[in-house]
Symmetry: C2
Subunit: 189 residues, 2 copies
Amino acid sequence: MGRWAPDARGRLEYAALELYTEAGFERTTVKEIAQRAGLTERTFFRHFADKREVLFPGNRQLQEVLEQAVTRSSAALTPAEAVTAALLELSGLMEDRRELARRRQTVIAAHPELQERELAKLASWSQTLTDALMRRGTAQPEARLAAEAGLAVFKTAFESWIATADPQHTLGQFVGDAFDDLGRLFARS
Amino acid sequence: MGRWAPDARGRLEYAALELYTEAGFERTTVKEIAQRAGLTERTFFRHFADKREVLFPGNRQLQEVLEQAVTRSSAALTPAEAVTAALLELSGLMEDRRELARRRQTVIAAHPELQERELAKLASWSQTLTDALMRRGTAQPEARLAAEAGLAVFKTAFESWIATADPQHTLGQFVGDAFDDLGRLFARS
């Protein structure tokens, strides 16, 4: 579990993802998750509405991280730079969670309805970034484009981060490199 | 209806979108759609599985358009240029359908479950573009990034196209301009 703090919520998340990959998402019960974590079902339900929720923890907080990062970014930053800064900050919160992220992605990839929820989550991030950029003075189409392109970068970087065998290669590095790649790929000639 | 051909399928689609915006998506029945189009319910079900399907017509064909456009694009084109060419070709198929697209977007925006399906459709386009680029020799992360960024551009351009009051401003122009904007926004300094 690395440096990731094993509080009750974290233990439940870890136990759930172990069971989802071992026994399958459908066959795992909340009771089993609580048992594996050494906690009660009641504690489980204090942290998560259901076993699906474990796969999408804290989306509201993550949106707030993105929003605040854009809002407090220097006025000297371009919209693209503000989006980059926000997604690098988000990446920093995930660095210790690569193994969890891998397990999570395996479960999601096997279930179309979870994939749809994942896409909805990413769309909510894009909307958060767009709104924050507009409040900072960027016009709508440009804000939308910077946000959507940022998410395109983040998705690609996240996949590379999960797939790499190099434990030293951070998500932040993948995100930074993918932003560079985007600039290179779509450079106007 | 402009130059858009009013065949049975098209008439059903047009009637459905009129009714969805007039009476609401939930309250509209297949019977009413068929009546408005001057056709039978049986004809409706020959073209669409249900009233939801009317909002997502021909996704398989659209994926084929994207795939073939990338596949037959000149080897001299970069991945980004091949994606641009494919999305411009797709845009060409939609130019006559702006009013339909507007009505459709209004219905979708009001229903989270339709939004999720819309996101899944766009994700399938991204996957199609990624696969086609890889078959053309582009490495996975670069193919994925070019495809995801292309979709980011298309989404933004599509929204601008639906929102504009200028009937002469084509989707293709919005897409071309948004690709230029992307290059400008994320240019490496």
